[in-house]
């Protein structure tokens, strides 16, 4: 999604040059861009157009292109679907939880690991490690840990007299899923924040301290504002990821019990590949795409405006 909206950045021209030279440059640029452009059109744009096209058909995916045109029926059906409404609700829940819990937690850890503490390099590696695992491995791992009967989580927690059905109960499945998501991604966001924090000149912090700012005040009025761009990009990545969330859910719960952890991508997979109503599944993918695109555009236009000066979203960034 981001590549889409940021592409033109690379083609920005320097100050006006003589017409002939400029034409020469264009030829060069076009030639260099051509292979990438062809691949991009073929592998990204073309499938998107095919998806949009097939979303207007009733189609089981077999043989050539679809023929049974039904207009917007797939979309009407989708927006009337209880499951899709639930998918959107789950998206909202996960986004809110991520922004309110996961990201602040990562930020706190990043601040902590920015201090001079013994073995901080080790901590950084350990906290980042889950991010390196593939989603599928994470899923399998946690479906073993969270197994209701013999799972490690319940065995350990039974010492404290706590027991949960985790993924096996519609009421606890979303929090459980969020725990797994957090386990996998907090290290990633922590790393981003850490990098952002290290870009803040120490002079600023020192100056604040000389002015008498205490730890919290320094953080609130110096570090946090200067981390703004980093936080905004981390929220952006987190939301886009959540819109497309699939692998973890598919492995952990398959969207169950009774759709209580289903996401849009899971619903799409169900209809496209298990139920062979590819037209309907395409409609879901189109909605996912539009949702991501609209979010990306609005967010970049209004929230990340200053961070991305010159990107296409601020009208080509003419200056």
């Amino acid at each position: 999604m981001t590549t889409l909206t940021r592409g033109p950045e690379a083609v920005r021209l320097p100050a006006p040059a003589p017409a002939a030279r400029r034409r020469g440059r264009w030829v060069t640029i076009t030639l260099f861009l051509l292979p990438a452009l062809v691949l991009f059109l073929l592998l990204v744009v073309a499938p998107m157009l095919v998806a949009v096209y097939s979303s207007a058909f009733k189609w089981n995916g077999f043989g050539g292109l679809p023929t049974d045109f039904i207009g917007l029926d797939n979309f009407t059906r989708l927006f009337g679907s209880e499951i899709f409404a639930q998918d959107l609700w789950h998206l909202l829940v996960l986004v809110v939880l991520s922004i309110c819990l996961q990201l602040p937690f990562s930020l706190a850890l990043a601040m902590l690991l920015n201090q001079r503490i013994r073995g901080r390099a080790l901590y950084r590696v350990v906290f980042f490690a889950p991010y390196v695992l593939s989603e599928v491995i994470t899923g399998v791992l946690f479906s073993l840990i969270l197994a209701p009967d013999a799972g490690m989580a319940n065995q350990l927690l039974s010492v404290f007299g706590i027991e949960s059905e985790w993924l096996a109960n519609p009421d606890t499945v979303m929090p459980s899923l969020f725990i797994v998501m957090t386990w996998k991604y907090f290290g990633f966001h922590m790393m981003i924040y850490l990098a952002g924090r290290q870009n803040i000149p120490n002079e600023l912090i020192e100056a604040a301290q000389i002015d008498g700012a205490t730890g919290w005040k320094t953080f609130r009025h110096v570090t946090l504002p200067l981390l703004g761009p980093t936080i905004r990009i981390s929220i952006f990545l987190s939301v886009i990821y959540t819109i497309q969330l699939f692998d973890l859910v598919w492995i952990l719960t398959g969207g169950g019990p009774s759709h209580s952890s289903e996401t849009m991508a899971v619903t799409m997979m169900e209809w496209g590949f298990k139920r062979t109503q590819v037209g309907y599944a395409s409609a879901i993918s189109v909605v996912m795409f539009v949702l991501s695109l609209v979010f990306a555009l609005i967010y970049q236009r209004f929230v990340m405006r200053r961070d991305l000066e010159g990107a296409s979203t601020s009208m080509g960034g003419r200056r």
């Binding site: 073993l144 209701p148 096996a168 169950g256 009774s258 759709h259 139920r275 109503q277």
Partner: protein
């Protein structure tokens, strides 16, 4: 055929049975002057990942290659879900493997309609009478045959005799009300009555399907496939009985998150003696042993009970098997291999090993295991046969049945809503 048209003689010698009509439908003229058979590679996809079939099938392929030196069989063996996913992907791209495992029914029919599956009617006409009708039914549409069966079975209750004894149940229940009573008795004795894999939805759909068969009857299920109406009172009644069972809370703890073959799944729960019964197909004992300890002689089998006042009989069986279909563009040898696999002599080896059940007439004697013998006998005496609903109906409808029954058992939907939901999806397939 395109790849080698020469091979008419060789397979005839080998498969014997084939002789009469081997080249009947296809005009096979030897190519080149020498008439030496051209090299052929057959792509064979199947999903027999567990023993004894894994080894047996590989042996058959080897033997076939030894007898047909020009043929190379390349087998792709995948686990159930992966197999379905991969086959769906490749068929949607407009291709099919030369030989592939199929369950027949609605899925195969879709592939046939897309022109991906070879009509074998002419090629196999000579061997058709050897098969039992129940085994063949899933692969025949409009009088044409698109595959040959390698396995057939039925779903029924597998139970732990010790647990039944402990709960004071002397005989397996023959009626649904007796069944519900026994569930209560087992619970009272502190035993989990039923193991169920709630995460995988197909095991749950057996309950609804069997109840629909017993209450509404086989014809009603067949009719629903054409009129797309699942809201008839009998179907709702089937849903109500599923709910009546679920309301007794008969399933193991955390069953909504349990898989089937996983280390803490349905089969393991049953195999480790932690539940009294499971409703499952003929492969249940094998999976109980591989996922758990297995019950040995304590394992018993009884058919799904009759429902009082229902239109179906206790002799109607629900299940499915497995068969082999051939891709449209597959060379002639693919058909020969399918026939080779299902010859009495070759197939009986798999039956003897306990990997599959008889699909050929008179093969019953090869069944060794006492429980499987009971299944084989029931199969031979069936009054009617219904293929798994998620295979018999188009995939969208089958999956919706699975989904809806899961919601019914999970308590999020009422029997009426379930009937409505299934009907809605069925209508969308019109």
């Amino acid at each position: 055929m395109r790849r080698s048209v020469v091979l008419i003689a060789a397979p005839m010698l080998i498969t014997g049975l084939l002789a009469g009509c081997g080249g009947g439908g296809e005009s096979a003229s030897p190519q080149g002057e020498g008439g030496s058979p051209g090299k052929v590679t057959l792509e064979w996809w199947h999903l027999s990942t567990s023993e004894p079939l894994k080894t047996l099938w590989a042996q058959r392929a080897k033997e076939f290659m030894a007898k047909n030196p020009n043929v190379t069989i390349k087998a792709t063996v995948l686990e159930n879900d992966a197999y379905k996913a991969k086959l769906t992907t490749i068929t949607q791209s407009g291709k099919a493997p030369d030989i592939f495992a199929t369950w027949g029914g609605g899925v195969l029919q879709q592939q046939i309609e897309a022109g991906l599956v070879k009509d074998l009617s002419g090629d196999v006409a000579d061997v058709l009478p050897n098969f039992t009708p129940a085994a063949l039914s899933a692969y025949q549409f409009d009088g044409k045959t698109y595959g040959l069966p390698t396995d057939i079975g039925l779903v029924g209750f597998w139970y732990n005799k010790k647990h039944f004894e402990k709960a004071g149940i002397s005989e397996p229940p023959a009626t649904w009300s007796a069944f519900l009573e026994d569930v209560t008795k087992l619970k009272a004795a502190g035993i989990t009555p039923i193991a169920l894999a709630g995460k995988e939805k197909w095991p749950g759909h057996y309950y609804w399907a069997y109840l629909a068969m017993r209450i509404a009857g086989l014809d009603a299920l067949k009719q629903a496939a054409t009129d797309h109406d699942f809201t008839k009172p009998d179907f709702v009644a089937a849903g109500q009985q599923v709910k009546a069972l679920a309301d007794l809370q008969p399933f193991q703890k955390g069953f909504l998150g349990a898989g089937y073959g996983t280390p803490d799944g349905q089969a393991a729960t049953m195999g480790n003696g932690k539940a009294a019964m499971e409703l499952m197909g003929q492969w249940a004992p094998a999976t109980q042993e591989s996922a758990g300890k297995g019950l040995g002689d304590d394992l018993g089998f009884f058919p799904f009970p009759a429902v009082e006042g229902g239109k179906g009989s206790i002799g109607d069986a629900f299940g499915g098997g497995g068969g082999l279909a051939v891709g449209t563009d597959a060379p002639k040898e693919a058909v020969d291999f399918v026939k080779y696999m299902t010859e009495m002599e070759n197939h009986a080896k798999a039956v003897e090993a306990g990997g599959v059940l008889p699909v050929l007439k008179g093969e019953e004697s090869a069944v060794k295991d006492a429980n499987l013998k009971q299944v084989a006998t029931l199969l031979a005496e069936t009054t009617g046969y219904q293929l798994y609903l998620d295979q018999a109906y188009p995939p969208a409808v089958g999956q919706q049945v699975n989904d809806s029954v899961a919601e019914l058992i999970g308590g999020t939907k009422t029997p009426e809503e379930v009937s409505q939901d299934i009907t809605e999806v069925a209508k969308s397939e019109e």
